[in-house]
């Protein structure tokens, strides 16, 4: 039972070959675009690598780059094949090449689709990575004298200013961490001694935030310290104050940014996937139509083109049988010997 049989008169074959040639060059450009999009995403992820705990999410841009490069090759060969397709003398040399070519092309096309799906699926992983990375960043904010951590302060400050966010979930994360280094604390002062005694770990905790949390849109000069104390500042109410500092957490801000980026890229890659799929389908039709012409003296006869000679299941088994035989090779030999032994026994 043939899958999707279509009749192809001579003119239709010629038009198919010409259309496919154009389409494959468009798909080559699309492949280059996919590669560029992958590079873009990778660059953006690397820029904020210090606030990410792991690099699991990098699989998305890596896949996009691989698929982009592969599709350049696939579409180059597609254009070469359809150039030779209408020439009965040159088409047969592609015969042995086409079967592995379709296998490899289908694999990379499916991989493209997988990349799009992954860009949505990796949201949770990205979020937990950002959560851990930001928590570390806030914890090591004060360690500007520790090698390896001395840039955390600068990174977190610039991040909060650029993404207009404060803290991990919100600004209260800064209340739970000592973000002022001991080098700048006067341990002979009563206020410092009180604060340090007030908690178990002996940390200097304040209900204040760094300057990078300040919102420029606020009508009043920024209030950074004693945020929870209404009487510390004139005309100030902690509960109702909205514009003073950024209320959004940096994890949410970064997550929104990256998901927006990946969604846009995903939409583009999806349309490229459709383009690539149509190239492969057209090439398959052209191949089968031209193969039916082979051997005939009159090359202008009408032929039939199809996608699969047998049904989907049978074709899948045909491809998988060699692989399965290779994997089950030992079992087959054992079965063979046990069969020989069994009739010999009785």
């Amino acid at each position: 039972m043939v899958v999707m049989k279509m009749k192809f008169p001579f003119e239709k074959r010629v038009k198919l070959a010409q259309g496919l040639w154009l389409l494959s060059w468009c798909a080559t450009v699309a492949g280059a675009t996919t590669f560029t999009l992958g590079c873009l995403l990778k660059t953006e992820l690397r820029r904020r690598a210090e606030v990410m705990d792991n690099s699991d999410v990098h699989i998305v841009p890596n896949t996009l780059m691989i698929v982009g490069l592969a599709s350049l090759g696939i579409n180059y060969f597609a254009s070469k094949i359809c150039q030779d397709a209408l020439d009965a003398g040159r088409f047969p040399r592609w015969k042995n090449f086409l079967k592995p070519y379709f296998a490899v092309s289908s694999f990379f096309t499916v991989l493209m689709l997988l990349a799009v799906i992954m860009s949505y699926a990796m949201k949770g992983s990205l979020e937990s990575s950002l959560k851990a990375g930001l928590r570390n960043g806030i914890r090591f904010y004060k360690d500007t004298d520790t090698p390896g951590r001395c840039f955390q302060k600068q990174n977190i400050d610039r991040l909060q200013m650029e993404f207009q966010c404060c803290g991990n979930n919100d600004f209260r994360d800064w209340f739970e961490v000592q973000w002022i280094s001991n080098r700048y604390l006067d341990f002979s002062s009563k206020e410092v001694k009180d604060r340090i005694k007030s908690n178990v770990d002996g940390r200097y905790l304040v209900d204040g935030v760094p300057f990078s949390c300040c919102n420029p849109s606020s009508p009043r000069p920024c209030i950074q310290n004693r945020l929870t104390n209404n009487s510390a500042h004139y005309n100030y109410d902690y509960q109702t104050e909205e514009l003073n500092i950024y209320l959004r957490g940096c994890r949410e801000a970064l997550l929104n940014y990256y998901m927006g980026l990946m969604n846009t890229i995903g939409a583009g890659v999806l349309s490229i996937f459709l383009l690539q799929g149509s190239v492969l389908v057209s090439l398959r039709f052209l191949q089968t139509a031209m193969e039916a012409v082979a051997g005939n003296e009159n090359t202008e006869i009408e032929t039939e083109g199809y996608l699969l000679e047998k049904g989907v299941k049978e074709t899948a088994m045909e491809y998988l049988n060699p692989v399965l035989t290779f994997l089950l090779l030992k079992n087959q030999v054992q079965e063979g010997t046990s069969d020989e032994a069994a009739p010999a026994a009785p």
Binding site: D145, Y184, L185, F211, S212, P219, R220, P221, C222, Q224
Partner: protein, 361 residues
């Protein structure tokens, strides 16, 4: 004695026409590039419009945009002329247009040169404009409740954060201005009353700066208030503290930024001028060579091309005479012929100064 005479065989004329056609399309692209450059600089200047007092500097991008558009048109015309140049029946209709074209093209080159010169010359004016604009911005920083000024705070804050600068000349400018609004001052407090009484105008001045002056590179949390008092903060020395705030003034930062922008476009504009000049010269050669060929008995033969038919001085004298004749034609009274001749001479001298190479006819 013709200026820079060259011989042109038929093949050479054809090559010249083809080469000029390509060159004129390249010049069209260059014109588009100049236009885009003008648009870009204009947008960058408009973005910081609020801290600039006047718009004199805008003459640079405006000129660039005008010249870009004009040169797209002029070079497109040049390419049409090239296409018709080897066809003797269609070339003569371009004669008058070519007169105008040479004048326009030379004017465009002069304007481009003027733009390059202006972009260096206007630095002082830009700095003045920024000085006044920033001073106003800092003065109206606290007026977030006054319509028309309510965005000054946000503008100055974002400016200081983006350009990593503080104040006009430096951070001490903030000490001389009340940048905390009266709405947020507790007038019953002793400290506020002391500060207000301490100066003639009754302003609340403090030795502190807004948060946007803070430098993220500093190893310690930002110190904004009581900056001049070394005892107010632990382990703090006012004179030697460098990283706490941005040390650069915003006027300096913005001037450097805009000068850098305009200087980096300098080489591009100069190369466009060169391309345009080569288009003009090639067009002149093509015109004279083709006209010479059309005048010959054998049109496929060799002709001469030149830039000016006579020498430079003789060409000037020619123009002068023509202008004189033109003016004399307008004079009816023979008694005032001398006065008319004098006027004609003065006008001719004025034209000499602005004279462009005339087309030969």
């Amino acid at each position: 004695m013709a200026l820079l005479k060259m011989k042109f065989s038929q093949q050479r004329r054809v090559r010249l026409a083809q080469g000029l056609w390509l060159l004129s399309w390249l010049a069209v692209t260059c014109g588009a590039f100049i236009f885009c450059l003008g648009v870009y600089i204009k947008i960058e200047l408009l973005r910081r419009d609020e801290v600039m007092e006047n718009t004199e500097i805008h003459v640079v991008p405006n000129l660039l945009m005008m010249v870009g558009l004009a040169s797209i048109g002029a070079n497109w015309v040049a390419s049409r002329v090239c296409q018709d140049s080897l066809d003797p029946s269609r070339f003569p209709r371009w004669n008058v247009i070519l007169l105008v074209w040479f004048a326009v093209a030379t004017l465009l080159c002069c304007l481009l040169l003027a733009v390059v010169v202006l972009s260096y010359a206007l630095q002082g004016r830009l700095e003045e404009s920024l000085k006044v604009g920033l001073r106003n911005g800092i003065r109206f920083y606290k007026d977030t409740d006054v319509p028309g000024r309510c965005f000054q705070k946000e503008t100055i804050d974002r400016l200081q954060m983006e350009f990593r600068c503080c104040g006009n000349n430096n951070f001490k400018d903030w000490f001389e201005v009340q940048w905390v609004s009266n709405r947020y001052l507790d007038f019953t407090s002793q400290e506020v009353k002391d500060r207000i009484r301490s100066n003639v105008d009754g302003r609340y001045l403090l030795d502190g700066v807004p948060f946007s002056c803070c430098n993220p590179v500093s190893p310690r949390p930002c110190l904004q208030y009581q900056l001049t008092d070394s005892r107010a903060h632990y382990n703090y020395e006012y004179q030697s503290e460098e990283l706490n705030l941005y040390s650069r003034g915003c006027r300096q930062a913005l001037t450097d930024y805009y000068m850098g922008l305009m200087n980096s476009t300098g080489p591009g504009v100069l190369s466009v001028i060169l391309i345009q000049v080569s288009v003009i010269l090639s067009m002149r050669y093509l015109q004279t060579a083709v006209e010479g060929a059309m005048a010959l008995e054998a049109p496929e033969g060799e002709s001469e091309g030149y830039i000016l038919e006579k020498g430079v001085k003789e060409t000037y004298a020619d123009i002068r005479e023509k202008v004189n004749n033109l003016l004399k034609f307008g004079q009816v009274d023979p008694a005032s012929e001398d006065a008319g001749a004098e006027e004609g001479e003065k006008a001719a001298e004025a034209m000499e100064k602005a004279a462009t190479p005339p087309p030969a006819s």
